[in-house]
Symmetry: C2
Subunit: 473 residues, 2 copies
Amino acid sequence: MNLEKIYSYINTHQERHFEKLKKMLLQPSVSPQNIGITQCAELLSTFFKDLNCETEIFETDGNPVVYGKYDAGAEKTLLVYFMYDTQPYDEPGWTHPPMEAALAPLELPSGTVTALFNRGTINTKGPMMTFLNAVESVQNTEGLPFNLLLVAEGEEELGSPHLPDFVAARKKELQKADACIFPFFLQNTKGKATLDLGVKGIIYFELECSGKEWGRGPTEFGIHGSNKAWVDSPAWRLIHALSTLTEDNGNTVVIDHFYDDVAPPSPEDETLIKKLVETFDPEPFKETMKVRKFVIDEKDREALIKKLLYTSTLNINGIWGGYIGEGSKTLLPHKVTAKIDIRLVPNQERDKMLPLVRNYLDKKGYKDLKIKVLDVGYKWSKVSVNEPVVQAMIRTCRNYGYEPEIWPHLAGSAPFYLFSDVLGIPYVMGALGHGARAHSPDEYIVYKGNDKVLGLDGAQKSMVAFFDEWLKG
Amino acid sequence: MNLEKIYSYINTHQERHFEKLKKMLLQPSVSPQNIGITQCAELLSTFFKDLNCETEIFETDGNPVVYGKYDAGAEKTLLVYFMYDTQPYDEPGWTHPPMEAALAPLELPSGTVTALFNRGTINTKGPMMTFLNAVESVQNTEGLPFNLLLVAEGEEELGSPHLPDFVAARKKELQKADACIFPFFLQNTKGKATLDLGVKGIIYFELECSGKEWGRGPTEFGIHGSNKAWVDSPAWRLIHALSTLTEDNGNTVVIDHFYDDVAPPSPEDETLIKKLVETFDPEPFKETMKVRKFVIDEKDREALIKKLLYTSTLNINGIWGGYIGEGSKTLLPHKVTAKIDIRLVPNQERDKMLPLVRNYLDKKGYKDLKIKVLDVGYKWSKVSVNEPVVQAMIRTCRNYGYEPEIWPHLAGSAPFYLFSDVLGIPYVMGALGHGARAHSPDEYIVYKGNDKVLGLDGAQKSMVAFFDEWLKG
């Protein structure tokens, strides 16, 4: 591939590419609140068509999958996984408006950059449009020398409940791909590139205590708080039930058999971790996320990495019930609910975990507490560092002067098991670029970079450079 | 007093009185959310002026006290305590609109009535307007044979933080009163009248756990839930902290010395309870409040009554933190808060309770948890059944054919200590009439009654009848 020619195209089309990105960002697509999904799917399908893809809006029982096929008549086929949905943006704490694609200077440890603030910038509309713009740049210069299968789901933030249906329906076609890529930005605030070779699994549910199910306390509505003297409290019940699930530190889960299937790091993982320890620096994470301390002493880097990667967690994402407005309304609530997720590590099985929670609650006398599954969940997934597509991304980083930090897997979750386990295709995340605060206020990506962190044009070029490396094999 | 003449006036002015009540109900006055307070105070002052009262809007550091004086040149003076503020009305569960003064049939165990649904109907704009309309009816027929001191505060639902300032400023004037009345409806769904001779005290506070104060967990905003593996959780911390405060049942408080000052029922109380046991029926409460079971077996009526009246409680009015919207956003919250109140019984002292909570939390290792006092709180208060004003209300009920059930005190709270302890004036609640669901959806009073429960006209007449009995001494 004639990289210089393609890079020159990218240089002269920055404005056009930014306008396309903005259009995508300003189109809400909040799957947890069902805002703008259909419109976003349609917008994305026009972007696929612009790249001369045979495009289909694949309807599911939930949000549609936007599916694009580009047949270059080439030998190799790249499967691309996108998510076009985002988290909600109505939480407090945004200092930039969450849906106005605001550009503003941002101080990073590597120097000042111009950041683009919007819900969905890093997670993952920024990387998605970077990929599509990179493809356009190749197509409009020397033509794309490989085939594309573009799969964009609108339910990643819901746990991808219907992506398995799509994969089952198009399995034969999808299995022709040689490799899969999930466009993402690999750089941190200091410019270091990090490559994650997998993800944890996840199950997400609500745990609810209500007077109705319990048969005690108020059953239909909250009642005057003075009645606490002679009427039981579902709020206190949920608190005591929750408190039985972990040790006092809130970190060690004490549900019977919860950790039984947790495997130690594999020999390949151990090798990767030994290398990782040399370069891993927790400071950028602490700075960006405003975290001062970890659950263990950070000086033992190996232990800290293993804590992050090999810990199966029980997290309270939210809890609510009763009067939560201003002031001092007295109320005995009839219902209190917690949103909880379990992260799964090798070799925990999805289907085994909720029964463990149920059995434990039953044993502790909380049979009336309702478990309402919100996400069917993901299995964990891993890919070997030796896969050619992974090696191609590593070489791409090195060519840019970044020795990538290789992580055996990510602490987060994504439906990658559909590629690795169901389709049997190796995958990689990339390319270069930086963004942060997924799921938090002031989510951003870097628009204009500095010496260390690539901006959007650099990110597009690195995506093209990856194409080149991958074709080389 | 020529009661027949006054009752006839009430009969012919029902529409006028209902319009005045509606005007008061439709004027929002939500003190916890600061909605409509000033307008409601002004509206009420016009009602006072209509009764030829010398009227003052007494400004405080919070909401004004509306103060009205009517000098009949009479021997006796009645001090009237009103609250013109209400709870919020934005909670779900209203089947009638909360601010449209909707009239609708309601099935009560005593038969069908026409009920008036609105926030503040029973708590306490309905009884307030009943009193004012009763006074008007006496004034416009044979003239009022006693003096009035009308005190209406707009911060009862906030714990009356500034009523003590008003009482201190007007103490000399107020102390001239012979007795005090808090207009309220004494009848339950079956028509039985209940008289409460006092109230519990209350303290209201928020207990907050934040990463910022703790120095662990996310400190500034919620972060991606996958970080639970290596970052601590303020949500789990609050849950574990709360769980140390009560036994598993959520009823028995285990804070050191929490119950130390709880006194057994006085001899007068024991006598009242013995009588109460004969007539007390928990069914109407259970039916209205949709409560199936009490914290103890209800068959032992004496124990149940004592449980309600002599239990100091620690109630969770609400709890919230993290992601509480639809769906499955994964988040590690940085802050979680619970709204808690303590109800005080004789002889617990207000100022001693919060230090007990603080010391206990500190002892358990939760020094970072913040206690934010929302209400300075009330002291508990009691009045003897032998007070002439109480006896007058009892005779009023009997004259109507209702043998009132006398309760040594209420489980709820009100700033009555200002009358009993600060001013040294006995008080009573009344008159007849019925309403329910204070602080809950579908709060109502009975507009047109049945054989057992008085409607609004009957409630007004019973208030006039009380005036007559009280004047008799």
